[in-house]
Amino acid sequence: MGRGGSRATGAAAPPWHALPDEVWEHAFSFLPTAADRGAAAGACSSWLRAERRSRHHLAVANCYAAAPRDAIERFPAVRAAEVKGKPHFADFGLVPPAWGGAAAPWIAAAADGWPLLEELSFKRMVVTDECLEMIAASFRNFQVLRLVSCDGFSTAGLAAIAAGCRQLRELDLQENEIEDCSIHWLSLFPESFTSLVTLNFSCLDGEVNITVLERLVTRCRNLKTLKLNNAIPLDKLASLLQKAPQLVELGTGKFSADYHPDLFAKLEVAFGGCKSLRKLSGAWDAVPDYLPAFYCVCDGLTSLNLSYATVRGPELIKFISRCKNLQQLWVMDLIEDLGLAVVASSCSKLQELRVFPSDHFGLGVLTERGLVDVSASCPMLESVLYFCRRMTNEALITIAKNRPNFTCFRLCILEPHTPDYITQHPLDAGFSAIVESCKGLRRLSISGLLTDLVFRSIGAHADRLEMLSIAFAGNSDLGLNYILSGCKSLKKLEIRDCPFGDKPLLANAAKLETMRSLWMSSCLLTLGACRQLARKMPHLSVEIMNDPGWSCPLDSLPDESPVEKLYVYRTIAGPRSDTPSYVQIV
């Protein structure tokens, strides 16, 4: 902390702490992450002032951690905001409907305090048509709308966006539940509207006026990402591609039709014209006969999502083996070990692999072998999501040795409590190897038969781990204690069906305030412990969820009552007021 320059020329430069805010704001614009900016803001009051007034992007990882008004007051210059709502396990049906996570308060506050807002992104939240109408009406410079795993809106809301957002560049709808109002929302983009760069309506379950879509695609010369839904027939896909050969990212929607050589030729020509295509997805119900129409783009592809394509091994292999530059691959387990061996030998630049389960019970030709092969031959592989039916400690140890650079490792063995299928031992040794070897691991999901030992390893070694998902694992309270007393960087912990009780929770109450959230369901918690936790930690919101069909005032229940679902998160906003009857805040 030196003095501001006393230069030889004698000109008196101001001391560093008296430099005008604009200088600091400019300096902070070089800080790469929000965490860095947060750290800078904590240094002194003038940095705090400069940083918060120049923050343009705000990510609110838990919509209940702070009130919308607080966020807007603190960061008045935000142009892009991202808000997340429901707990992650809501994705798997563990959170009953009407839990919360409404986007409306955020949009209302933003309409008031951030009139120049350009981008909004919501994940796992309830977004209504009124919300979308408000967005269209409130932000004259609105450019980007991204909705991921949201629900509560319909095509009427989309119509409001189309009609009202004159500067819209991106409309990105990922895996939302959208009601069909039979409104031709696409036709509401005015003829003068040409600014679209991203259009993703792949999750929309309804008809789309193809002519309108074609006109839209034709006049939006900057369109780079187009992801279609199931309603677009194959021959129309070909026409669309010919109108937008500049596409970088394409979601084909449905990819099936009876084979016809003319249509095949048309598709081949259309794909041949797409010299910039790098990312491909969709291919729902892909008919293998048409896959070769894609061959001409394979070499350029960096990302391939065939996780909805029920194409079996051989055709899949022929296709993927041509994609030498793949960095990201999402497939179904229909690829089998054989297919993954081909991926291993063909895709040396692979960084992320996700293998999803198909519903083919008992087939079992995707085993630990596939993952071992890929981890051995793809040196840049750092992120894995793998659903399989069997695993061994040896395989995991090999994988850990091959790939110490994993940042995300999620293994889901489909049957709970499955041991090493050769030795019948728990998979403790395998997962321990992973956390010991992969020092940069940020996200981990474990499965299979696991004892408290694995948690000892995770607690001791996983220093950079931020998110941990546990299911059907552990023997006793010790397991949870290892995690909560270790794992220095832990932010999100989600646990289901484990024999963890009150003691480790209470013993590590302070840890919970250093984390974003904790989810525990079907464990051995009692109401008494939750009450104690809430009393001890006033900055935590302790939410208990009961069976929605039965709501009984918490106050009347004794301490020994079991708690089926617990969701704890830190907050500066106090208890939320929008809980449904089956959620009670202790």
Binding site: F89, D91, F92, E179, F387, A471, D547, E560
Partner: protein
């Protein structure tokens, strides 16, 4: 000892404190003993009752005995793959006065009565089923009492009354 699959049992056990030492819980498959009726609500209760502390099953569980939310696959993906696999016959249903269309899978229902029940479920705020004396079921507006007549457009473009033609 087996878990009773009706809802009231779950409620009372939660209130009184579940016996955690009991590891002999088993999940009875629907239709195996007491639930021999085809009441869809009953089946739903049994499939959603989480198999808390059961021992590892020896054989692959049948689909109905799977644990809630497992494997951890998003509902969106599950529904999409199920729709593709089942060759479901989805039709869109519009009700006068309701803002949203609903999709109904005709393959999922064994007969007209079940279809009517499903329509009631999906448009619950609009009507309820009234059973007439002669066992005929009609869809009636819950508030005004006016009758809704389900109709559909057949492949010739004619409007037909639902129920005229045999279910198949």
């Amino acid at each position: 000892m087996s878990v009773e699959t009706d809802r009231s049992s779950t409620e009372s056990s939660a209130a009184s404190g579940l016996d955690f030492e009991d590891t002999v819980l088993t999940l009875r498959l629907p239709g195996s003993s007491s639930s021999s009726s085809s009441d869809p609500d009953r089946k739903r209760a049994s499939t959603s009752d989480p198999d808390r502390r059961s021992p590892v099953t020896e054989s692959p569980p049948s689909p109905k005995a799977r644990v809630v939310g497992w494997p951890p696959v998003r509902a969106f993906r599950k529904n999409a793959l199920a729709a593709a696999a089942s060759k479901a016959k989805f039709v869109k249903v519009a009700v006068d006065g309701a803002p949203y269309l609903r999709k109904v899978d005709l393959e999922a229902y064994p007969g007209y009565d079940q279809l009517l029940a499903a329509l009631q479920d999906k448009f619950f705020s609009h009507f309820t089923i009234r059973k007439l004396g002669n066992e005929e079921m009609k869809l009636v507006d819950a508030v005004t009492g006016t009758e809704y007549v389900p109709t559909y457009e057949d492949k010739d473009g004619d409007w037909m009354l639902v129920g005229d033609v045999p279910w198949k």
